[in-house]
């Protein structure tokens, strides 16, 4: 079992900000759990990233010549294993989302108090992510939208006409759109589940959809006029 102290003795933190006061606050907050190195400009930062390969980089987004997201990504390539926590005076949900997408492991207010900063560093060290709740909501929205896009990309030009289906298949399609399981459909139509599955395979093929989810969405969203 590794005690808290043992695990932290190897924790190397690089604190990058042009504001000396801020660096001092970070240093004071973290000196009990980590070895903290400070830098105040981009050039020294690049040098130290390569030389130290810190566990964690606390990076003030206002660092001169950092140039936002692109600059942050360049810094990351100097030490890919380093987990970067970005700090900014005025965090926004959009920027936070973009930074996390670009690989940051934390995004928070530069004025965070010592207790929170310590917690954030420990969390990120453990492989978790430190962001505000609103940013998480935002991230989920994007994830859901991208997942849907990805799904639709599978069949970009599929334009199934439900006319190609037999009356029985149309019945099944409508039940799928209502959330019915194969078993429920089988009971409803008084056939075996195996028969329902066979029908589904035929339906997927005829309509060019990939699975039940895709079919259900198609019936609901894309063809509101459809009637079995």
């Amino acid at each position: 079992m590794v005690s808290d102290q043992d695990s932290s003795s190897s924790l190397k933190v690089l604190a990058a900000s042009a504001v000396a006061l801020r660096r001092m606050q970070w240093l004071q907050a973290l000196e009990r759990i980590a070895t903290v190195h400070e830098v105040g400009d981009r050039q020294t930062l690049e040098h130290k990233m390569v030389a130290l390969k810190p566990t964690i980089l606390l990076l003030d987004l206002a660092l001169p010549e950092l140039r936002g997201r692109g600059g942050f990504a360049e810094i990351q390539t100097l030490s890919p294993s380093t987990k970067i926590i970005l700090l900014t005076k005025s965090p926004t949900d959009n920027e936070g989302t973009a930074m996390l997408e670009a690989g940051a492991r934390g995004y928070c207010s530069a004025d965070m108090d010592a207790v929170l900063l310590t917690k954030a560093v420990k969390m990120v060290q453990k492989g978790e992510v430190w962001v505000g709740r609103k940013v998480i909501s935002h991230l989920l929205d994007i994830l859901v939208a991208l997942t849907e896009q990805q799904r639709n990309r599978v069949l970009p030009n599929a334009d199934p006409s439900f006319d190609v289906l037999t009356p029985r298949e149309k019945e099944i399609v409508q039940q799928i759109g209502g959330g019915s399981s194969n078993k429920e459909i089988a009971n409803q139509l008084n056939v075996s589940e195996k028969t329902v599955k066979a029908h589904l395979t035929s339906i997927f093929r005829k309509l060019g959809v990939s699975d039940r989810l895709h079919l259900a969405l198609y019936v609901n969203g894309h063809r509101p006029s459809f009637r079995a």
């Binding site: 962001v131 909501s137 991230l139 991208l146 997942t147 959330g179 989810l213």
Partner: protein
């Protein structure tokens, strides 16, 4: 303020009862129905509950269609998954398809009410370690490297 309306869709009757009990004691939250199939949950989405508590197994059995189907009928409804143990991969999939949070059975008594209020308020109920995985997935999707699900 009008009360938060909750629908429970759970095949596990004991867990559904626990949820209903916990929520009945909470101020400003009203359970408007309990169902045990996706079909019923989808049909009753017309009642536009603020929150749908959904059995993760039911979500999985519907090939992940349950949440999109409910939300197509009732966009205001946010879904919180009721999960068993060690269901991380399934939870990740379900969240990618629109669920806003999840709770294991042991968490219900302590956190269900809190989770319902948070998700109703536009927040999520997701652990930090899960957030890290969601971000990894997001990065993969952005890079276009994720393969579509097999049929």
């Amino acid at each position: 303020m009008p009360s938060i309306t909750v629908m429970i869709a759970d095949r596990e009757r004991r867990r559904a009862t626990t949820c209903a009990e916990v929520l009945r004691r909470a101020r400003g939250i009203r359970v408007i129905g309990t169902v045990a199939t996706v079909r019923e949950a989808v049909a009753r989405a017309e009642q536009q509950p603020d929150i749908l508590l959904l059995d993760l197994n039911m979500m999985a059995d519907s090939d992940l269609a349950a949440v999109p189907l409910v939300r197509a009928r009732s966009p205001r409804t946010h879904v919180i998954l009721l999960t068993g143990r060690a269901a991380e991969a399934e939870i990740l999939e379900a969240i990618s398809h629109g669920a806003r949070g999840y709770l294991g059975a042991v968490m219900l008594r302590r956190f269900l009410t809190k989770a319902v209020r948070a998700v109703r308020g536009g927040e999520t109920w997701v652990s930090r370690s899960m957030v890290a995985k969601l971000i990894d997935r997001l990065a993969d999707l952005s890079a276009g490297s994720l393969q579509p699900r097999a049929v």
